[in-house]
Structures are given as C-alpha cells and as structure tokens.
Amino acid sequence: MDLALNEEQEIIKKSAQNFLKKECPSSLVRELEEDEEGYSPDLWRKMAELGWMGLILPLDYGGSGGSFLDLAVLIEEMGKSCAPSWFFSTIVLGAQTIMSIGTEEQKDRMLSAISTGDSIGTLAFIEPKSGYEIANIQMTSKSNGSGSYLDGIKLFVPDAHIADWIICVVRGKKERDIDPDLELLLIDKKAPGISITPLKTISGDKLFEVKFDKVKLSPDDLLGNKEQSARNFETILQNAALAKCAEMVGGAQMVLDMSVDYAKQRVQFNSPIGSFQAIQHHLANMLIDLDCSRYLTYYAAWMLTEGIPCEKEVAMAKAFTSDAYINITTLGQQIHGGTGLIKEHDMQIYFRRAKSAALSLGNATYQRKMVAAHMGL
C-alpha cells in the first residue's frame, strides 16, 4: 500500500499551487464573484497553456492522458484557492461526458478544441420539478412537421453565459427498455431559441436558468449512441461528484490552515486563543473531518483510476465530505470570530461555497441512499 501521491502528481500539485497563488488570488475570486459576468479570459487562457484542460483528455486530442487521480490532485488545489468554476463545467461535466459517450466524430470535433482552451461548455440537467433525481427528468425532444425541437427549462446550469455548447439531458422516448431512458444532446449555445437568466446564489457561483424555446435539433446533436448515454450518465454524474469531493477537500484544508494560523496569532485574555481547549478541540475535530474526507476521496479516486467498480465508494466520499465541509467551515467561522465574517476576509468565501458544494451533485442524504442501495438495503 502506498498512500502518497506519485511524482507527477506532486508536480501537478506544486505547479498548480504556484500558479493559482499568483494568478488567482482571493482578490480576483472576490472580484469575479461580484461581477455579473465573472469571467477572466486571461486566466482561462493561462490555465489552458499549462495544459490543465487537456490533463485527462486522451493524447490523440492534444491531451496528456492523465488519470482521475491526477485530475483530483489538480481540482483539490483549485478548491484551495476557490478557483472559478469554468474548469469544472467544461472538463468535469462537459469533456468527461463527451469522452465517455461521444461518437468518434464528436470526440474529434470537440475534444481538441477543449484541450487548447478554445471551447467552453457546460451540462444542463436539473429541471424545475426534478430535484437531483434523474428519474424525474421530464424534458424531451418533440417533433413537428419540420423536424425535432426542444422546449423547456433547465435550472442551475453552471457557466451557461460563457459556454459555447451545452450538453442537455432529456428523457428518451421510451423506445428502449432502459430505466431511466435518457438522451444527451450536445447543443450549440448560439442556436436560436436559447435564452439564459442568471440566478443569484449563496456561493456567487454563476448558475443559470436556460430556456429552450423551440430549439431545432439535428440528428447530429445526439451525443453518442443511445444505449451508452443512458447507461453511463449516472456514472458520469458520480464521477463529477467525486471531483467535487476533491474540490471540497482542498477548500477544507485551506480553512483549517487559516484557522490554525489565526488561532495561533489571535490573543485574547493574554493568551493565543489556540491555547484554549475549546478552540483546540474545534481544530482537532476539523482535522479529523478533513482527513477522513481526504482518504475517502483518494480511495475512490484511486479505484476509479484503476478501473475497479467504485459506485459505493464514490457515494461514501461525497456523503461524508459534504457534511464534513459544512462542519469545518462552520467551526472555522466560529474560530475566526467577527474577523472572519467580514467580506474582506477569505473565511466567509469558503463558508458560503461549502454549502453550495455540499449540495451539488447529490447531497449527503442522496449519497447515503446510494450507499444503502449498494449495500443491498
């Protein structure tokens, strides 16, 4: 057994750390959050130049064929510095889906442009009445005299404003004996009939309502062949949930580091507050929560990398880490006292984002249901 990162992963980690420290300071995070657009083409281009977009893309498409563990290491660092979500939308939600179920033609068409940073995309999935249950997806393509079209609303679509394309998950037409019967459509964001409305969230994430108003579909829009798309989509979402765990572990690590520093420096009643047992126990609890989250996440990421079935382990990681990140940021906030509540301070950024991340891609309750199902309950 070996619980350490390998050499390449250490390099990814180090270089991401250095890059983000310089190019993505918290001042930029704050600025992007407050800006409605919230997009820095410059930062995006630099990330692409470092090869981040291509990290897990196959060599054939200009990628470097990295593993899921490599990706997790990079995303953990992004989580540490609250890097913007474009990478997650385009790569974790978008490119992974295309890699997993796209046809050769679609991969050819999409992946090279993604790996150079020239193409940005996202995934649209949740509907007004669906919650996070795939089975509740109602939107479906319709036909009239002049062909197929799409009508309806998708919610909480990340980064739709800068996306060039949107993978839209719709219900199939019950032609097949698959439950749930899903189709994934790869739609050009410029297609007539698409309109987006920004949603304001606790985390400052750029989430959107995407409205499809008689958006014409061509047969090419169907991502992959039908059999694959339905079977793989749940796995794609769970992989994304695991990537979210890595992001949360990074954020939690940063919160713990900040809190320890603060507890050592802040003096009240003539002692650093870090010498008070209540604060020490808060910090010990944070470290326990963090380490459990980290190893549950690494373990599942390693299994995924090795091709070992790990649906249960991914669900375990996401359930635990979601709760842990809430606990860690809550205690971090408590330790920082008034100082950490002020918008000028970084602590509150993590506090708000934790709630959003914990809920994203299946909250703890949802994931525990998954675990129970995999246990045969």
């Binding site: 304001k200 606790i202 604060i279 006292g337 509540l341 002020i342 918008k343 309750t365």
Partner: protein, 384 residues
C-alpha cells in the same frame, strides 16, 4: 405551574398585534430585512415614533420618561410580536442598554436629555465596545479618553461598532486609567456622532449587513457625558448586559412556519427523512421558546438570569444554524438562491439565515463564551 398568559396579557398581546397588522407594511419589512445594511431606515423611524407615542418602544421606562413602567411579560410580548411581524431591524441599544444604565447611574440632566427622546423613537445609540484587540476579552479596551479641562479627548480605533452609521450617539467604552488592572480603568461616555474627529468606515458582513470600523482622532467629549463614576465603566457594562436579556423567538417562529408551509405546498413533507428533520426542528424551537419564557419569568421575579439568558442565546443561535442548514438541504438547489433571484423560495430568508446564523453565534458573546458562563456561573465550576 402555568404556561398561559393572563387575560390582561392576552388582551395586551392582541392590542399589539392589531397595531402591527395596520402599521407594518411590505416596504417596512423590506427595510427591516436589509438589516444593518441601512439600520434604522425611514419607515422604521416612523414606526418607532408611532410606538413611542403608545409608550411601547421603551415599555420598561418609567412613565415620566416616556415608558409604560411595563412588566417583563409585557415587554416580552411586544418584542415577540414585533419580531414575529418582522417589524424590527435589530436590538435597540438606546432602549435596551443606555436607558436602563442611565436610569440606574445617570445624572438627572442626562436622564432628561436622553431618556424621553429614546422612548419617543427620536434617537438611537450605537454600541462602542469592541476593538481589534478586545473581542471576547472585552476588558482589553485600548481606546483612550484623556481628561483635559472640561473635556475628554478620545483617540483610538473601534471595530464591529455596528450602529455607528445610523445612530445619533455612540455609547463608548474608553480607557481613562491605563495604570490599573484592565477591568478597572474603563469608563463609559456618550459621544455625539457629529463630533469632529470621528471617521466611520463600513465593514460589510457576509450576511450583507453592515458594521463599522470607527476611528477617533482627538475627539472632544464634554465631561458631563461621562456615565456614573470614572473608571467604573466595565462594571456598568456588565450590569447593562444583565438588562439586555430578552430573547424573543418570534422571527424564528415566523420563518419556521413559512418553511413548513412551503414544504407542504411542494409535497416534500411526505418524505420520512424530511419529517424527522422538520419535527426535530419544531421540537428545538419549542424548547427555545420555553427557555426564553424562563428568562422572562425569572426577570419578572427580579432574579437575574445570569446563566439562563446565555443558555437561550447559545441554544437559539445554534438552532438558527441547524434550521437554515437543514432547510436548505431539504429545499435542494432552490435553497441556495438569494433574495431577488429568479426561482428563489421564501424570499431567500433561509439562505440569508444560513449566513446570518454564523454571525449570531459570534456577536454579543460567542457560543464558547456563553458555555463558559453557563459552566462557571450556572454550575459554579472553577476558572481555569
């Protein structure tokens, strides 16, 4: 044992409710819900004056100073109904802290000058205690007040002095004697916010509220603005804290009721997991109400709720945290939406509560400090 309000109290409650039904408008609620971003806004000043007329603003003040000489239960009823109707932005420092302290230690002139105006809803005070190095350790005040002739000259920096951008006065703790142990050299002063030399810099809080850094640069305060005796300020502060211990749960009750309605409408209440979580919250809210009753019952009997009030503080603010955390999980992604966003449920109140609760567990004494007090005062455990 009797958990009922008396007939008189019930009819007083109805009177307050009827008043609020007429007076509380949507504009006022909007203003209130922006919290200390604006503090007391125009609609609130108007309501305060109307309440002042009815002597409900500072009901505990004697009648000669615009109060009602009300019982603790009447005060509780007003506060509970006001918060339930979302008609109050914050705890009023003039009514809750300045008034009682002046009544006990103020000069006749001070009482005349301030009390009636406080009770009439004309003026408000900001609390001027906290400093960068004096948070939980309140006695560590560094801001200096040096006596020169018939004035004190104030210099130094305060932080998290929330009311300073909308109050007419600040109720300032300053060090008047640097040569004695730290609890013994602090005095309380009333400072007019218009005095030259005061700079107020906004600090924006995670929950979109505003607080302030306040810089005092040779600020001249007349010596008649000293409260009580010089260097006894810390003692007065502690005494005033004992006055400031009514914890209405009206606002949480209201928000919880609305949340329960929401989950019924959305059909979420059939889920056994939701049922468990929501029932647990209902139980805790009930417990918070009962603990709050106890505090009022004790103060009504002239017993100082020295540890019972901290218990309400920590239980209620931690309830806020659990409530908002659980409610957002139940509402799913919608729970993350902020007020003003398309698709936002319940006007974003619960989303905001999640951010606000973090603050409420810190301000006015952290949960850790409250637990220390419960242990040391309530259970008489020795200091470390």
């Amino acid at each position: 044992m009797d958990f009922r309000f008396s007939k008189e109290e019930e009819s007083f409650k109805q009177e307050v409710r009827d008043f609020l039904k007429v007076e509380v408008t949507q504009e006022m609620v909007d203003e209130v819900e922006r919290g200390t971003e604006i503090g007391i806004g125009p609609h609130c000043w108007e309501l305060m004056k109307k309440m002042g007329k009815r002597r409900w603003l500072a009901p505990a003040f004697p009648k000669e100073y615009g109060g009602l000489g009300a019982t603790r239960w009447q005060q509780f009823i007003i506060a509970d109904e006001m918060t339930y109707h979302r008609s109050f932005p914050l705890h009023l420092c003039g009514v809750g802290i300045v008034g009682p302290t002046l009544l006990q230690y103020g000069t006749e002139a001070q009482k005349k000058e301030y009390l009636t105006r406080i009770a009439g809803g004309e003026i408000e005070f900001a609390l001027g205690y906290t400093e960068p190095e004096a948070g939980s350790d309140l006695a560590n005040v560094q801001v200096k007040a040096e006596k020169k002739g018939d004035s004190y000259i104030i210099n130094g920096q305060k932080v998290f002095n929330t009311g300073c951008h909308f109050s007419q006065y600040v109720w300032l703790a300053a060090r008047t004697d640097p040569n004695v142990s730290k609890h013994k050299g602090i005095s309380l002063l009333i400072v007019d916010m218009k005095t030259p030399g005061i700079t107020v810099r906004p600090l924006w809080v995670m929950d979109d509220d505003r607080t302030n850094e306040v810089f005092y640069d040779d600020v001249k305060v007349p010596i008649e603005n000293l409260i009580g005796e010089e260097n006894k300020g810390f003692y007065y502060i502690l005494t005033a804290l004992a006055h400031e211990r009514s914890f209405p749960v009206g606002d949480m009750r209201r928000t919880f009721e609305e949340f329960v309605e929401y989950i019924k409408e959305e059909g979420l209440g059939k889920d056994p997991l939701v049922q468990q979580s929501v029932a647990q919250l209902a139980i805790e809210l009930q417990a918070a109400s009962l603990l709050a009753y106890r505090v009022t019952w004790l103060t009504d009997k002239n017993i100082s709720p020295n540890w019972e009030a901290p218990m309400v503080k920590v239980f209620l603010t931690e309830f806020m945290r659990r409530f908002s955390n659980t409610a957002i999980e139940i509402m799913g992604h919608y729970g993350l939406l902020k007020k003003g966003s398309k698709w936002v449920p319940l006007e974003g109140r619960i989303e905001r509560l999640y951010r606000h609760a973090a603050r409420r567990n810190i301000s006015a004494g952290t949960s850790e400090v409250q637990r220390n007090t419960i242990a040391r005062v309530g259970l008489k455990l020795p200091r470390g």
